[in-house]
Symmetry: D2
Subunit: 262 residues, 4 copies
């Protein structure tokens, strides 16, 4: 039974859908008509409702991808296609303690929080106050604020307050400035992930990782292509996202410079 405080994906089609926080009273308006929250109460997920103009909306349980894409955005968000691989190329699990810089709009924070809950922690750093506030609000709307701590700080200068974390995620314009701090915060042998849009950033980041003795430094990119599933024929969609960012992964080695003899 859907109740106030639940998030519902009001789904008419992929191009006409809304992530809605169900409230005690009021209504939700679209250009195809309105829906009163009182009509949604008591319905089950999977049921449908219609606007007075006859537009049918299914009441679907939002996925993590939906939550990510529907955060209130103040920044470019990390995409689900990239986030998925980042989860598998690092160490994220229930109970994990992970660091994220920057908070951005909280899209990645949401995913990390979902998977480390209830006993883990996402330490989310952001140097721009307004972004941090927005990210926190987005996470709070999703009822995930209990596992997140937000810091308005620049770890390039101050480092991280945490130690022995299971993973570090960097999504900032100059991630190379954070590599040293990331190394100090990360568990030995564990992995860091970063996103950089340009090849120049990729070069600078991987150089910095090498200089800090990270090993297994790799870069990948992910392309996601949808398909049209029409009665008249299956075919890939017409247009797609061509690029979001290069994904970089590396593991922290304990080796000190002096010990290197490669």
């Amino acid at each position: 039974m859907i109740k106030a405080g639940d998030f519902v994906l009001l789904y008419h089609s992929e191009d006409f859908k809304f992530l809605v926080l169900v409230q005690e009273t009021g209504m939700f308006s679209t250009h195809r008509g309105n829906l009163s929250f009182s009509d949604i109460f008591g319905k089950s997920f999977g049921d449908w409702v219609e606007t007075q103009m006859g537009a049918r909306f299914y009441l679907l349980k939002p996925t993590l991808s939906d939550l990510m894409l529907k955060v209130k955005r103040t920044t470019t968000i990390v995409y689900p296609k990239d986030t998925g691989l980042m989860l598998l190329q690092t160490l994220v699990f229930p109970g994990a303690r992970v660091i994220e810089v920057g908070s951005g709009s909280g899209a990645l924070t949401t995913v990390l929080a979902n998977f480390v809950r209830p006993d883990g922690r996402v330490y989310s750093y952001e140097k721009r106050m307004e972004f941090s506030v927005n990210a926190r609000e987005n996470v709070a709307r999703y009822h995930l604020e209990g596992v997140c701590e937000f810091f308005v700080a620049d770890p390039a200068e101050q480092g991280f307050l945490q130690q022995e974390v299971d993973a570090v995620f960097l999504d900032v314009p100059e991630p190379w400035l954070l590599v040293g701090a990331a190394k100090r915060a990360l568990k030995n042998g564990y992995a860091l992930a970063a996103l950089v849009p340009t090849v120049e950033q990729l070069r600078r980041l991987t150089s910095a990782l090498g200089a800090e003795r990270f090993v297994r430094i790799r870069a990948k990119e992910i392309l996601e292509r949808g398909l049209f599933l029409r009665e008249t024929g299956i075919r890939p969609v017409d247009r797609m996202v061509a690029h979001t960012a290069y994904l970089v992964f590396a593991h922290k080695a304990t080796v000190e410079e002096a010990a290197i003899k490669e």
Copy 2:
């Protein structure tokens, strides 16, 4: 401190690495020399050891991707690039109860178990006994057997024993035969994910999903391309995986046939 029973990724390079279960005694042999487990005890993750032939191996914490790719294979495995998106397009979280068919080699089982632990459950169905046994052994090696239940059964005939599960994952040659059973087992409004290699399977599956009143039926494919990060220049790798499977996602609607008036 690494101890017996830990999994370690012995890492020399991407092309020369091993996922090893550290044991009390004995050694690990490679064509570049041997490593005695006694040399690994007491080391930290992130340290390195050398074979008597001088090949250096870093002792890295294996990621989920490493665990997936290093299961003992009796079947084609689900790839990390696809698994990542499947996690975000469905409802997986600590405590979730999810169904998987078939168990395959346990690669996807491993990932699902990692994210639903410690209170969730992965119900893993497989009709071929030897595959089920192998998948179970792989999961047990990773110490994740506590959250998994394996069933040697064909749910196309018998349905699933569970109800109200949070997600269903189908990775079988004829997933359309399982759509009805999946619908009965799944929570209302929640999502199913499936993998199919060919377009004909994609057509049959999406038809079956439509017939069972699933909504928001979508198909996607994921391409992952690595980059060479050489001193002499950054460039994409020479060759890549061109295709594994089409990913299909759909949500269960409650609507009965009789109620349809579209």
Copy 3:
């Protein structure tokens, strides 16, 4: 020296460029100001001119890709990325005689005409009169009409008037209806190319090709991704064309059904 009748690519940027037929008198208007043709006369390709509003346009020699993309469109056009491969997977050369169905907007016709001239021929079939007229006009604007013959006809019913052609290009919704006619028109052992947007069309076409004893039946798709070359960094563009059509290639075998013993 640029003169009346020349085509010039007025180039400000990739997003603001025009393919212009230089005329004796008059001017060319843009939202960034006007250019008088008299200012262009006597200029060299590679020179630039400015509108009275200060927008600079380079006078560039248009490439085949420019000509294709700037035809007056009545239909979807064949894309350069696909056309390029089609030229190399068939037999096109100066002096070749090739068949094309349908004429579409004349984009592919333009390319074929460019490469078979001056002694070859492009026989371009189209069953819709208005498309044929438009295609012919586009080709004529490019001064390539001398090597093209346009037919308003449906070869599925009437076959082709030509025999012993070097290549056949099919870009119609139901290319399988033309496979028999194509076989009769094509030189033994030579190749046919076709474009089909959906997988169902691909299946029907390849079945028809097999039934008519074509051999070496192959399908491919081409993805083209641009890069931003900015001072601040190189990176792929944000969005790209995800799909135009599957490309199908096959060679005509002489073998008769009765002779098959595979």
Copy 4:
């Protein structure tokens, strides 16, 4: 009727095919048996022959792609997927005079020669004698030597001997060293194309092009993916080429540095 001196593609399957120059006498051996040239004489393209071991080979007319891929290689060759686009993004046509550096194995030379013949010219520069000789031999085998001139020289030092050419193609490790010479050789307003494998080369090349006042500088990459067309289902192939080179295109502007006021 096939005769001595003809090139034939002996085609069993995509993985078992041979480009053969038919000779007066002798035979062609495969691990599936032998074919006597006397059995091929008098056959038509499109016919088939069988080895004494029962392997059937179709006698197909080779496409340009076949000729490219079957040159005797001393270097990495330019791929058909890239060549196709290069033809359309520059000015190549029957009668065109074009420059190519380096000759490589003659694969691109072959394609250019095919399309500029019989009255055009391909001026092919290569500084390594043995490569030039091999490229010339490959082109000669294809009976295209009449439209090609090979130069063993380094145009970075000596420039090109030609002027007012219609296109310049650069496929060398340091194409930026040739940009000035290319500019002097190229017709005003016409286009140059280059291939570079790494991003660092891309950066240096585009900088050099800008410094020499080339305009409309663009970079693209092409991905080609094949499909399996099996009775049991259509699906993309398992593995594909992930990268060959970035393609760079630019037009020569006449503008002098002093005139710039951008």
